[in-house]
Subunit: 304 residues, 4 copies
Amino acid sequence: MVEKRKLEGLIAAPFTPMAADGSLNTVAVKLYADLLAASGVKGVFICGTTGESASLTVAERMALAEAWVAAAAGRLRVIVHVGSNCAADAIALAQHAERTGADAIGAMAPYFFKPQTAAELVAWFTPIANSCALPFYYYNMPSMSGVSVPVAEFLALGGRAMPTLAGVKFTHNNLMEMSQCLMLEDGRYEVLHGYDEILLCGLSLGAVAAVGSTYNYAARVYNRLIGEFRAGNIAAAARLQQYSVKIVEVIVRHGGGVRGGKAIMKLMGVDCGSCRLPLAPFTEEEYAALRAELEEIDFFNRVK
Amino acid sequence: MVEKRKLEGLIAAPFTPMAADGSLNTVAVKLYADLLAASGVKGVFICGTTGESASLTVAERMALAEAWVAAAAGRLRVIVHVGSNCAADAIALAQHAERTGADAIGAMAPYFFKPQTAAELVAWFTPIANSCALPFYYYNMPSMSGVSVPVAEFLALGGRAMPTLAGVKFTHNNLMEMSQCLMLEDGRYEVLHGYDEILLCGLSLGAVAAVGSTYNYAARVYNRLIGEFRAGNIAAAARLQQYSVKIVEVIVRHGGGVRGGKAIMKLMGVDCGSCRLPLAPFTEEEYAALRAELEEIDFFNRVK
Amino acid sequence: MVEKRKLEGLIAAPFTPMAADGSLNTVAVKLYADLLAASGVKGVFICGTTGESASLTVAERMALAEAWVAAAAGRLRVIVHVGSNCAADAIALAQHAERTGADAIGAMAPYFFKPQTAAELVAWFTPIANSCALPFYYYNMPSMSGVSVPVAEFLALGGRAMPTLAGVKFTHNNLMEMSQCLMLEDGRYEVLHGYDEILLCGLSLGAVAAVGSTYNYAARVYNRLIGEFRAGNIAAAARLQQYSVKIVEVIVRHGGGVRGGKAIMKLMGVDCGSCRLPLAPFTEEEYAALRAELEEIDFFNRVK
Amino acid sequence: MVEKRKLEGLIAAPFTPMAADGSLNTVAVKLYADLLAASGVKGVFICGTTGESASLTVAERMALAEAWVAAAAGRLRVIVHVGSNCAADAIALAQHAERTGADAIGAMAPYFFKPQTAAELVAWFTPIANSCALPFYYYNMPSMSGVSVPVAEFLALGGRAMPTLAGVKFTHNNLMEMSQCLMLEDGRYEVLHGYDEILLCGLSLGAVAAVGSTYNYAARVYNRLIGEFRAGNIAAAARLQQYSVKIVEVIVRHGGGVRGGKAIMKLMGVDCGSCRLPLAPFTEEEYAALRAELEEIDFFNRVK
């Protein structure tokens, strides 16, 4: 079994920077990584939902992985999402991630033909995880994948077939299930909390690491929240969580965490451009409205 | 506006006791109330999902309300669920609850014709809530009702139309929404946490009361959890929550919180009989299996 | 086994007439029945979805059944929907229907606690169907009930437990399943087609009777469609079906088949009042808009 | 606008032949095309759901398109499915299809980020459709894509943005919507019927072409059905449709139209191998059971 240094703290799920013509902008990754490292983020989960991996070609995903590993320069753990509906593509991406020097891989369930059982999901992931030696995190996000396999059962079964199975990125509201994953085999598996707006709940249940899109631009708020939680000041942590809810309310009004969040990133100084279709381009009017809504909640001061 | 003494602590959602022939067994309510009061429960939310209100006639629901108010005898707050797809029945039940001396009413959204917006839901509840002077709690449970109206928006709008609107029984996994409800108008509305297996999450976010079915038989576990939480021992609270998850895993294997829970109640000394159809009767073999599974997790000692 | 005269032709699902104050208006039923009989309708399926049974008290449902049996006066077959989440209420309604002289009963699955299998659904219906001697039709409408039990399996299993099981009111888009029901045991069970806007599909597959809400006011269009179908003029039948689609498009814009359809009924001369909450009252502005939209498709001439 | 020769009759959605090691087997395509042409099929819709396009690399999809165009040799119209979540890949596939000599392209909606409105879907498809001059069919299949945009609205709007928009492959149970598409702008758009087991319904409503997976091996049954329909023998057509239902019942028991159907193809003489993961490999035991079930319904004689 591969040695695993467990993840702890905040892992940002970066937006994928794109140029004005919609092409990949790997140049922006260096500045992006500097900003994340400075904000207290511990790692990046690249090319996932927030990274619009479904909208990228395989070649672009590989180029992006190379850019992030280079830019992270040891300051940030780099987890590369290699999930695809095509197993051959997923394997190619996993092996490329390993060659590139990434720290781990993650993958969402296939979402066209949808596995119905834990056994089917294990059968799907086994050749992918076993194609390289990097730790593997299952990316559980039923709201996007439509795959609702019991996660603890998947981990229990999967650990036997995939020696590198490290845990789960748990992006789901079912926190009883998160508890089940945390309890499993005396905490053998890492459970990366997934919904930023309820991070405090995950911490309370025992999660110690979290992956999310708002950590790209508001990591300091969440690190304060974690600090209050660790100090036993739950009420103070809850107030910071409520502030995070207000941020999320803003991005929801602007198309959600990917589209709205990507626009915030530009306001924070890293121009990642617009999302690719089918997510609509962000207009100048929208940027102005977004900025005004953020100022109304004193966002730019609070995320400093 | 009616004066409202806010709810705090555990509110059990009682099973409805039935005799061997399936008829209502109001006699058992006295013993049931004694047991609850002794276990540290603060109130009861009767005739809800757990109480199988949908399977009862209006006359039975009234008889049950009378039995509970009498048995509670001031030791337990009594909230009567008056929800129905028929507004006339709901109004009759609300007015009866008031005459009977209940402390509050609650109601689920109608679930045949389903309101789509907060405004429609307010229009539905206004004549019901305003038919009596008791505090009114909206019972939000999208998994059963199929009604997914934004709750904070409902409260904000509903507070203007219904002076007695006291808050929401929030039985849903969307804890960001729970935060929104807690924040609303500086905490004007009570938010009764609804999923027992994630109570710690609700407490972390600021909820101070909870309604649930496992508080019928495991209130002491949850009161210990609340105690650890209040003392700042979150890790200890999380372990108690994990124990609650194990209880819930048992009831899920036996048909869920209503059917499996009702059978546990018999093992705890209050024979509530079987559920009514469409929930299948509980067989002797099932009782034996249930007892064995509970013993395996040391249930009977831990809930003492 | 009870002798069954099979249903054939159009069965209207009547709106429930209500007075200006929202109370039941049984007086209107006589005129309503005259109009239906004159339009070529063969029967009525009362107190179903269109009849807002979920919004009526049990007493009102009984009063309505009495009014319809009296008004039908042998000209229309009367099927009384007795479905309820409360088995005791359903049985009371079934026995009342029989005493009243109805021709048959129908019932939707319980939709609060939802049966998951054919066996559970048979267990639910058996005491209800067997409480009287009238033919029993299972009312399958997953879009409203949320119950998706395989219907052919239900019929096959149910026929053994319920000697009166006559068939199914099949209100669903799954026409492969309708074929399965039609094929079952050499056509033993009646399959009442359920979505008016695709009646031609049901006829093509072999259905000979249909229950629907637009037959209340547009029976002549559908009888012409049936006539063309019987004469082998499928293209002409398809054109009439397309006209029915245009009618349905209008009612969808006005809140759907129940709310919009009830308003059309007033324009046809039978004032059934507004729907009960949670369906919103119909305003004068809406009546004007509805009339204009109907005139635009030459409705009032075509349904003559 | 490109000149469009409208599709008519049966279009098979071929399985993608794979070798024993799981690699693409383009060699089998020639035999496959001969068999289809001999069975009365008029065209092929390749690389769609049945063709497991989501499980293929872009390079494999291109190789397959080349093989089919070559094998069709003018006997079969070749529509190449170019849908992808990545617009760049879809455009590359569309332009390749045109260069290769395909007759048309089709594309499913993106199913990771899901368009919510007709306008969003038109915005997505416009650069793809306009990247080549081939007729474009929108492949509407909400059960797989999770995208439920009103199709007639999409066509009406899309026809202005995409001069090549030819119609829709309508794979959905909502036959009212199919009627709306058929009616639109006096039948401007082709509506390719999509669920084989209810083909008779589509024909009744006016569809004249159909795309499906069972036409790969049972085209003669369906051509007989079409013949009876054209001759006005609807009852005879309905009996043939019931036979098709029996075939579909068999494949459903074996994993559905893709997995079970691909196995039938081997029994018919074209060895397409197993499906790729996440669809499980077909075992020898399963082949034996499948053959027995097909023989029980006299399949091999009836599809001759």
